[in-house]
């Protein structure tokens, strides 16, 4: 039994989507994604001189008629896709509650995983936690494995403080096949930290999508005016503030600036980026926002 947003209608809609990759990967099975290798797809790739033993069905008779030379038509190989979904499972993903942040984040991850599964591609879920143990699922293939994906995401227990680059590095050490990497996090970390993390993914030649998930409380904190002792959910550090209209406005400005820095870095690095505020409808986000950034074909 799948959780609430994954209704049959929603799943049917998801089945219509296919992830788009900007890179070519070597797949393991025939699929629908381009491979750098030549193969037997319908998509023409190149010509080469005929040599004895070549299949005569691929001779380009038109060229032969014009030039009296024999050329063989080459086609792209189409292979399946390996997708890696990294979900931030640090303590900050529980703010203000699991249902208001981590669950929506995992729903985005599951929706994208289902898109992959529905296309008979491979998907693997990773939970980013620091310190280890960070959990990773096996590769799933086929839409019937969606239940296992849901169970894996539900089993996550966000906690601790996340240092993105080392946590990703731990997972990437065990990756053998390049593919599509989808990183879902709140990115509430210093710029050098998330930049190093994304660079680690880039270093593995992955086609990267970064989805920033924030709760409404984080976008527009509803603190009472006055002196507050704010406690960092990850480090437990406590700081004293006088919260008022000015402080609220300043926070909003800084958050907008922080998000624009992430967006800018992703743009410069060839990474798809999108912001998902969790009080927004998931379907709207998946079917309107994500296609807009070119995530789907």
């Amino acid at each position: 039994m799948l959780p609430e947003p994954f209704t049959p209608a929603f799943l049917t809609q998801l089945e219509t989507l296919r992830l788009r990759t900007r890179k070519e990967f070597l797949g393991s099975h025939p699929g629908s994604y381009s491979s750098p290798r030549r193969g037997t797809s319908l998509e023409f790739a190149d010509y080469r001189r005929y040599s004895p033993g070549d299949d005569l069905r691929y001779l380009d008779w038109g060229i032969y008629a014009r030039s009296d030379r024999l050329y063989i038509k080459l086609f792209r190989e189409e292979v399946d896709l390996f997708a890696y979904v990294f979900i931030d499972a640090s303590a900050s993903m529980l703010f203000p509650s699991r249902a208001e942040k981590f669950l929506p984040a995992s729903h985005v991850a599951l929706a994208l995983a289902y898109v992959v599964l529905a296309n008979h591609d491979h998907v693997k879920l990773h939970l980013l936690q620091d310190p280890p143990p960070s959990a990773a699922s096996p590769f799933y293939r086929g839409r019937r494995r969606m239940t296992e994906c849901v169970e894996f995401a539900a089993s996550a227990k966000p906690a601790g403080q996340l240092d993105l680059a080392p946590a990703l590095g731990e997972h990437l050490k065990r990756l053998r096949r390049p593919g599509k990497a989808i990183l879902i996090s709140d990115f509430l970390m210093p710029a050098p930290s998330y930049q190093q993390g994304l660079n680690v993914l880039r270093g593995f030649n992955l086609d990267i999508v970064a989805i920033q998930v924030l709760s409404r409380q984080e976008v527009d904190p509803a603190f009472p005016n006055g002196n507050l002792a704010l406690v960092d959910s990850e480090s437990q550090a406590e700081f004293q503030y006088r919260w008022d209209t000015g402080a609220r406005q300043s926070y909003r400005t800084r958050l907008a600036h922080h998000n624009s820095e992430i967006r800018s870095f992703c743009h410069q690095s060839g990474i798809h980026y999108s912001l998902y505020v969790t009080d927004r409808d998931l379907k709207d986000f998946v079917f309107a926002t994500l296609p807009a950034i070119g995530l789907f074909k």
Binding site: F95, F223, G226, L228, A229, L230, D232, F239, Y241, A247
Partner: protein, 603 residues
């Protein structure tokens, strides 16, 4: 400007307490947030401050102003109007000798008095009063300010305790009768509720003190020539003290004892087996606030004999007393009593007689006539039987009451407070009174003549009461301020005070009243020296922890001149009311109006 109630100014010290509710109110609410990354960058300066940035609202300053005005109003600020005719009442009791930071309270009081005098104009008049031995004027005519400063310097404290004086009434009467513009009382007692014209200035603060409360030197008993002494020391402090008590004879150290005295308690040290000296001095070896009560004096029992003055219409009945060893008897008739020189007697016996007034010496009254101040007598008892007696008691020691059979007895009906020593079924037979160390004994039967073994129970009783009186004769000391009984003085008699002043005694004077100092007084009479020990023994005065407060009602009637003060406090009260109205009514409304205006602008 002066303050009539300056103690209220201590309230200013408590003003910072007003911050507490604001600090408590500011205690930050604790909220968990996903990440403080953006917030710490926002206000790094506010980090790690326990109370954040302290911003006090304007209401705080209004409340501060309100409290300050109220405290100032309570302190009753006044603008003094310069007086020209004032009286200064200087407390010169013994406690004014207490040392405060190297100066005695009396010196501090003198300084205050001099500063008051210095404030007067050249034409001002000052009258000086002291409080002991009685509230009296130093000089009949007023002093000029310059004379007064000198007279204040010449004053000195006496070794006398305070008298019970209703200062409120007495000073008001002085003010009315003498038409003073202002009366100042300078004392070491706390004073409350002073008026505009009668002002009290307090000097000194509560202190701990160790005091020598009593010192006696005596012979062990009538038959025992050995000397013994007891010293009682009180600890008027909040902690246990270990002190050394020294006994000196004519200035030479004889013996010493160590005493451990619990806080607020007293302890007694005993000395015995020391040699005979003309006088003895006990001293406690401590450095405390009041040195005066660290010493006490006693004169040695004058002789090993008990001198008895017997007053009787039938002297022959008492003559046999002279046969008792250690007893020296003088017999006179009642009519000669008033004319007789009565000094030096350890006991006066009134046998079927009574004096016009009770003597200040130990006395035995045997079947006193009616109309005496001590007892009434009942009807004679036919066959006297003793049915009850005090035991143990020095008077009943070794007496076999089954054989005690006075031939004639009348039951006593005591008219004064005392102890019944023994009684018959018809009423008390022996009644003892002890007042301020002086013992009186009234007998409802006649124990005389002294028959020795001929009437053993009565003889034992006789020896008992002689011993009892002898013991009290040794204990009798004179407290400072009490007169010394001298007998009839003659021309050329001198009294030498402890300071060595020689005072000629008026011929015919029976008493010397100027015992204002503690120490040994010498009576020089006919080439002979008689010593008297005068001690300051006043536990109330020695207890410096909490002097009795003087309450002044503050209402002054009469007096001379214009108003002494211009009072500010009603104006301060009015101002504080105004601030209260602003703080309570106007300020919140203005604040809410301002908020509305701001929100309108934002909209």
């Amino acid at each position: 400007m002066e303050f009539l109630n300056p103690s209220a100014l201590y309230g200013l010290v408590a003003l910072p307490l007003l911050l507490i509710p604001y600090l408590i109110r500011r205690k930050p609410q604790r909220i968990i947030f996903s990440s403080l990354l953006l917030l710490t960058e926002y206000d790094a300066s506010a980090r790690h401050r326990p109370w954040g940035r302290l911003r006090l609202p304007p209401a705080f300053f209004l409340q501060l102003l309100l409290l300050t005005l109220l405290i100032l109003a309570l302190a009753e600020p006044v603008l003094s109007v310069r007086p020209t005719h004032i009286a200064i009442v200087l407390d010169n009791s013994a406690s004014m000798q207490t040392v405060e930071d190297g100066k005695t309270r009396f010196v501090l009081a003198q300084e205050r008095a001099r500063s008051l005098v210095a404030d007067l104009s050249v034409n001002g008049r000052v009258e000086l009063y002291r409080t002991v031995p009685r509230l009296e004027k130093i000089r009949a005519t007023p002093f000029s300010p310059s004379e007064a400063a000198g007279a204040i310097g010449a004053l000195e404290p006496y070794d006398l305790g305070d008298h019970v004086i209703d200062y409120d009434q007495v000073l008001n009467e002085l003010m009315r009768e003498q038409k003073y513009e202002r009366v100042y009382l300078i004392t070491d007692h706390p004073v409350s509720g002073q008026g505009e014209k009668i002002r009290a200035l307090s000097v000194g603060s509560p202190q701990a003190n160790i005091a020598l409360l009593a010192f006696q030197a005596r012979r062990a008993s009538l038959a025992n020539a050995q000397l013994e002494a007891t010293v009682e020391v009180a600890n008027f402090s909040a902690k246990q003290e270990k002190i050394k008590v020294l006994l000196r004879g004519s200035g030479t150290l004889l013996q010493s004892r160590e005493l451990v005295i619990a806080a607020g308690k007293s302890a007694e040290a005993s000395f015995s087996g020391f040699g005979a000296h003309p006088y003895y001095e006990a001293e406690i070896d401590v450095r405390d606030a009041l040195p005066l009560d660290n010493r006490a004096f006693a004169v040695a029992p004058t002789a090993a004999t008990l001198r008895i003055l017997a007053v009787s219409p039938r002297p022959q009945a008492l003559a046999s007393l002279g046969a008792i060893p250690g007893v020296k008897l003088d017999l006179i008739s009642p009519t000669d009593y008033e004319k007789a020189a009565r000094s030096g007697y350890g006991l006066e016996i009134f046998h079927f007689a009574t004096p016009a007034s009770l003597p200040q010496t130990p006395a035995l009254f045997v079947l006193p006539p009616d109309a005496n101040a001590l007892v009434d007598l009942g009807t004679p008892i036919a066959r006297t039987v003793v049915s009850g007696w005090r035991d143990p008691h020095p008077l009943t020691r070794y007496v076999n009451f089954s054989l005690f059979r006075p031939t004639y007895a009348r039951p006593l009906k005591p008219q004064a407070a005392g102890d019944v020593i023994f009684e018959s079924p018809q009423g008390p037979l022996v009644f003892a009174i002890e007042r301020r160390g002086v013992r009186h004994l009234v007998l409802g039967f006649d124990p005389f003549p002294y028959l020795g073994r001929g009437n053993l129970p009565m003889s034992i009783f006789t020896l008992n009461f002689l011993d009892w009186f002898f013991e009290s004769a040794g204990r009798r000391g004179t407290a400072s301020g009490e007169p010394l009984s001298l007998g009839v003085s003659r021309q050329g008699d001198l009294m030498i005070t402890p300071r060595g002043e020689k005072i000629s005694l008026d011929p015919g004077a029976n008493y010397f009243a100027g015992t204002f100092l503690q120490g040994i007084y010498q009576l020089r009479r006919s080439g002979e020296n008689q010593l008297f020990a005068v001690n300051f023994q006043n536990a109330n005065e020695s207890d410096l922890r909490a002097p009795a407060p003087i309450a002044m009602k503050g209402a002054t009637q009469g007096g001379g001149g214009a108003e002494a003060f211009f009072s500010y406090w009603p104006y301060l009260l009015l101002a504080s009311l105004l601030v209260l109205i602003i703080e309570w009514f106007i300020f919140p409304r203005m604040a809410s109006l301002g908020a509305r205006v701001r929100s309108g602008r934002v909209a």
